[in-house]
């Protein structure tokens, strides 16, 4: 087990270094001048070459790429993660301030996806091809197809025009005011959760349909076990492994989707900070946030792999 964990940690580290290199290089070869956002349109137009030189030096962009990369690694190692080009705020502070909100959205979205997806999947599987199955499958296809940001905008507009309601416009942390905080995260979490729930419903349906035809399920029925117990205690635990696997992958979608959905809801989380940083060409913020997202994705997938052994005693790590 230890060997396995070490190996996985080693691969995870390799993945993150690879990701960091890709982000670093891509951000520097993409066209676009961060000085436009710093100086504004008029200031940028009036900037002299000597001013540009000084500004690029101040931003650390005049150094060679290896020097810039080494500096970034140093910033990661010290936990500071560098400073935004613009207001001089550290990326660490940005993550500490906005991260909890995005994490809450992701966790709540995951909970919603399971709360919605699993019952719907079970219902579809135990009555395959019935009307409930047809409705569940249609809805799951709909929620997979509908873009989250569009659904988000519709929800925002519907709440505004029908009820005159809008969620808080600044970050309210859970420990400051749980109710206001809940209003902030609920909308994005529902939109993201429903989309992921649709995937879980489809996956749990197909897995359960497969497991439900297994001999041991038939044996359980033959023993006279009630149908609910057969499904929940015998079939479902064995059908859950692929669902758990996909949940890990779906977390990546939640993180990616949160960028657009936070923007649609106007929720000031990390996703929105990433959008603004990309528009402003705030390279330091972008590279750290993308790496953070990649890191979370890698860690979650390792945790998912590890959970297999606990869920299925037949699996042993070599």
């Amino acid at each position: 087990m230890q060997k396995y964990l070490l190996r996985r940690a080693f691969f995870a580290l390799g993945t993150l270094i690879g990701v960091s290199l890709i982000i670093f290089v891509v951000l520097r070869i993409l066209p676009g001048d961060p000085l436009v956002a710093i100086l504004g349109v008029e200031g940028h137009a009036k900037m002299a070459p000597a001013d540009r030189e000084v500004l690029m030096r101040d931003l650390g962009l005049a150094d060679s790429l290896p020097v810039q990369y080494a500096r970034w690694l140093r910033d990661i190692a010290t936990g500071q993660l560098g400073k935004s080009f613009f207001r001089g705020d550290t990326v660490r502070d940005l993550i500490l301030h906005r991260g909890p909100l995005s994490a809450e959205i992701a966790i709540l979205a995951l909970i919603i996806s399971w709360l919605v997806g699993l019952p719907v999947g079970i219902l579809s599987a135990i009555r395959p091809n019935g009307w409930a199955d047809a409705v569940a499958r249609s809805l799951s296809v709909l929620f997979i197809a509908v873009p989250g940001f569009w659904l988000g905008l519709l929800i925002v507009l519907a709440l505004l025009f029908w009820f005159g309601y809008k969620a808080p416009i600044v970050i309210v942390q859970l420990w400051q005011d749980p109710w206001q905080n809940f209003q902030l995260i609920l909308g994005p979490a529902v939109v993201l959760g429903l989309a992921q729930g649709a995937y879980i419903a489809r996956m749990s349906r197909s897995c359960l349909l497969e497991v439900i035809r297994e001999d041991y399920v038939r044996t359980a029925r033959a023993k006279g076990t009630v149908e609910r117990s057969v499904v929940l205690h015998h079939a479902l635990p064995n059908a859950l492994l692929p669902v758990i696997t996909i949940s890990g992958v779906l977390l990546g979608f939640v993180l990616g989707g949160s960028v657009a959905v936070e923007q649609a809801f106007g929720v000031p989380g990390l996703g929105r900070a990433l959008v603004v940083a990309i528009i402003e060409r705030d390279i330091i913020v972008v590279q750290n946030l993308v790496l953070l997202y990649a890191g979370i994705f890698v860690v979650v997938n390792v945790l998912v792999d590890m959970s297999y052994a606990w869920l299925d005693p037949r699996i042993r790590y070599q």
Partner: protein, 557 residues
Amino acid sequence: MADPVRSKARKPGVSRRSFLKTVGVAGAATTAPGFLRSRAEAQDTPYRDPAAKRGGTLRYGVHTAPAHFDVHQSGTVANIGAQSPMYDTLLRRDPRDGQTIIPDLAFKWDVAPDGKKYTFYLRKGVKFHDGAEFTAEDVKATYERIIRPPKGVVIPRTSLFTAVGEIVVLDPYRIEFRLTEPRPRAFMLGAFASGWNIIVRKKTLDDNQGNLRQVMAYPGTGPFRHVSRKDKEVWIMERNPDYWNKGLPYVDRLEVYHMPPFSPELGSAFLSGKLDYARLLDPVSWRKAKEMPGVTAAAFNQSVIQACFMNQKKVKAFQDVRVRRAMHLAMDRHVLVDVVKDTAPMQIGGFVYPFHEASTPKAELEKRLGYQKDPKAAIQEAKKLMQAAGYGQGLKGLDFLVRDAATFKLWAVAIQAMLKENLNVETNLRVVQISQWFEEAAAGNFDIAITAIVSSLMDPSDYFTAWYGKDGPQNYAGWTNEQFHSLARNIEREVDDGKRKTMIRQAEDILESDPPLIPVSYEQIYDAWYNKVRGQNPTPYFGIYDVVRWDQVWLQS
């Protein structure tokens, strides 16, 4: 004698009489300072609403967060919208009309008869938020930096003061700006009254090597003091109890929320009552606000032209004046305004701000080819011009550089269709992020490009150089016309308003016949506020950069 100046706006301001009274008192103070000083200072804030009440929190939504904190180096309302309530300027525009220039940190001023010397008399007893006393040294340090910024510091307003040769501190409360050549008084005083030119402490500048980009909440003398800031969310300020203008500001607390302009986010925050005042609303939210009981919605002019540039350095055909004029005439401007009506408010105009006193009046402009509601005659003329220039068959494969914003994308498609349909000019749209647009435009990597360009003042002398000047920073097309450049230089120096107006019309005629760009439209701003917010109505304002301090706003409830 103090020197009242109205800028050249068509809409006259209100209560000129009360302003002149104020000026009269200030003028008397010059001759009898011993007993009139207190009277002058008591009256030099021209507007006190007798019904005004103290207290409350004003929640104001305006633009995204600033990219940095240096107001002088900024060109966006992201800075001035959030930070200006903490600062004062030498002179300012009256919040009632947004036009009349009134005293601020300078309670009066003299202009030498030859127009080459401006002397400002500064208030005594004004304190910065850190307790330091305000003196002429702070004004000198501020303006030295604006006029001659250190390397790596770029200040868009530097060009307003090119004629200033020397700044001399006469005593701690008197300062003189000596010009190397005369400038129109309205232009110079407009520059001093620009909301951008906030007065900062000399020590602050010295301590930070003249660069305040990453210095948050450096001390000002303004009506509000910094309390806290949440990046990209809100900037909170409190009433400055030691404000020199006793009794002001009226509100105890100001919360400035950073929200993207024209966004549903800003619109929904206002419509749901989470903001008291919203600036830069999108047209849909603004129209909705207008219908709401207890809400006032206002539209006013902005200091921005939306324009297409024809790269003369790259495309040979554009060096022919007939081709450029033909492309200018091929635009149906009424349609272009209509195309974006749900995205951003726009109005038709030519090469000079259409609401400026010296520009061709709208009714007259709309009789001209290129601006008429029925574009047939203009298009016929455009076709003839293309034929005469040898491009009767049109042009193919032009690279059309488009900024990635809703308005530009909508216009680009419409303009592409107009050029193809009317002149058989074929373009390939290339949509890029704003940061890339300016990089490409500066490098000349485009055939046609569309963007917005701005000015600080409504006075043509500000933007004639930047937009149309030879090697002007926003003359992306590389246009030159010696007759125009020479005329523009004379306009810059002419101090007689009547003569200047005639010259501006002549310049306008040159620009019409030899277009340096294709004017697409002029921007407007949509504001809305709940009626409990009193003391400010931006309807007659020009732009969102001058009246920005909220010191005279009060809350009814």
